[in-house]
Symmetry: C2
Subunit: 322 residues, 2 copies
């Protein structure tokens, strides 16, 4: 089994050699720009790892891994327009660096290129791969819309929130593993267990993200602690607090949500989180999804030793502090 670092290097060489096109340059320069912004390449690496579980010839999963990374970057380009986001990985977003029409159109092109790359896979079951990929791509769009709806929606339930993070981010992790596994020759059952492993890790990871925003160490994460609180963002923490809060504390919470003094607002909400044991609640939810993920991994019919790389990657993700 290859390590994350080895797979990262193989994948990096592969995409560094990619030629998406050149004319008109307004359309292709943003694609090169996005694909070179870097990142940990989690999704394509998961696809390669899953292939490696069943067939050490991981080269055959490279086109699919590439397709998934291009698709992921397409969603970032379009999401940045919708969120009016100025920065992505510390650099200007496509929408800011060029303009909105170019961000729409180069994003569209990336979506099409993703399908084109997936179609380059040498496989007898291209149709299955495409069906999994299209289903996931549709869910990612649905997740983004549900997330946007939350901004104006008066109340959001746990279930709605968990469904949103599942669609918006977790299913693509599952899809990456499932497609990689199928290319490696996995049975449908094994590929499905890997999908569930990735999906549940993804949900746990998003919950972790919510916890870290409020309870992380700002000096390590490099982010403003309590950013979500300041923005009244409907995270799992706030949703649980809104559902649990006693009548006596309701007015206090309402006042805190209107407060403009950021420092006192963050401290006030954290006091309520502590009082209602919200962090513990979120940690236990996270653990439920992790447990579920590992149950599915246990059901995959390959040597336990081979699974270490996946367990290790999941642990690294969950132990990250930034």
């Amino acid at each position: 089994m290859k390590t994350y670092q080895q797979l990262f290097e193989i994948f990096s060489s592969h995409i560094n050699a990619a030629n998406y096109g050149s004319n008109p340059k307004e359309l292709y320069e943003p694609i090169d720009y996005m694909m070179q912004l870097g990142g940990k390449r989690l999704r394509p690496i998961l696809a390669l790892m899953a292939c490696d579980l069943f067939d050490s010839n991981i080269e055959k999963a490279l086109h699919a891994a590439h397709a998934i990374e291009v698709f992921h970057n397409f969603t970032l380009v379009h999401d940045d327009i919708m969120d009016n986001a100025p920065l992505r990985r510390g650099k200007e977003t496509v929408y800011k660096k060029w303009n909105m029409p170019i961000a729409i159109l180069s994003g569209d092109l990336m979506m099409i290129k993703a399908t084109e790359l997936l179609c380059e896979t040498e496989t007898a079951n291209l149709k299955s791969l495409l069906q999994i990929f299209n289903k996931t791509a549709i869910e990612v769009c649905e997740g983004q819309q549900i997330d946007m709806n939350f901004e104006t929606q008066k109340s959001v339930s746990h279930d709605e929130y968990l469904e949103m993070i599942k669609l918006k981010t977790a299913v693509l992790l599952g899809c990456s593993l499932q497609i990689g596994a199928l290319i490696g020759g996995a049975s449908n059952d094994d590929a499905q267990h890997l999908y569930e492993f990735g999906k549940n890790i993804g949900i746990a990871f998003q919950i972790q993200d919510d916890i870290l925003d409020t309870f992380g160490d700002g000096t390590i994460t490099g982010k403003q602690v309590g950013g979500d609180i300041i923005a009244n963002k409907k995270t799992l923490l706030l949703i649980e607090l809104l559902e649990s809060v006693h009548k006596d504390d309701k007015k206090l919470l309402d006042d805190l949500m209107q407060m403009t003094d950021a420092e006192n607002k963050v401290q006030g909400v954290i006091n309520l989180y502590d009082k209602y044991m919200i962090k513990q609640f979120a940690e236990s939810k996270k653990q439920q999804y992790l447990d579920l993920a590992y149950q599915h991994l246990a059901d995959v019919q390959v040597d336990e030793a081979k699974k270490t790389i996946l367990t290790h990657t999941a642990e690294e993700l969950m132990n990250r502090v930034s």
Copy 2:
């Protein structure tokens, strides 16, 4: 061979029964809205006609025809954002009726649905169909970007203009015929000739569109005569005039292009078009592409009688006055 009207009815029943999804409604309502705006359904009908040339069981091309129509509507939804267009077929555009994020995201979803529909085709050569479709989809994006570039580009040559209309609109007509033909069991050669037929008809049609905007009968077309002239739009007519105009008339043309009095502007430019025989030039270009189209149709190895429906459809398109 089925008539346009028969195919239109079969296709209409098919898409009226379509269920694209429902949740979240913000994402699916715009898709239903767009797909129900109607239109002549030219591209899917061409796909069905091409299938019918080789196999009267046109049902098997319905998913692909549907995919092409959904793809075409995806491009309209995104183009309308980029062009800031308020109306589409007399109704509000998705971007105006909902908002920009919803138009981006529901368009994205339509693009994915198009691929999903194409994958439903029962065929042994799905990979070929997808390759043709993806190649065309990429070209359509390129054409839209080149068209946007023209707005700020100082000078545009004939060749650049013809390349733009080929990419932006003509290749999708060719692709529709090629995919329909392949599903019907055509040889690659026959499918390629039909692609060239559709592409060249598409280019001729766009040139016709430019001619009609200036020389059409406004009472019949229902459009303001000379709209392109008023907007200084770089049509084949204006491009040719800019290239042919003598030094003596250059100043007059420059003045006309700055003029705010629409009526005198249109008449002044038309006078120059007449002086330099620009309409005749455009008509002859159009005829070149039509001739090329019919040469390719002649090379398709099916009974001549069967081709009548395609010739008739092309003539109807070219004789339209609106």
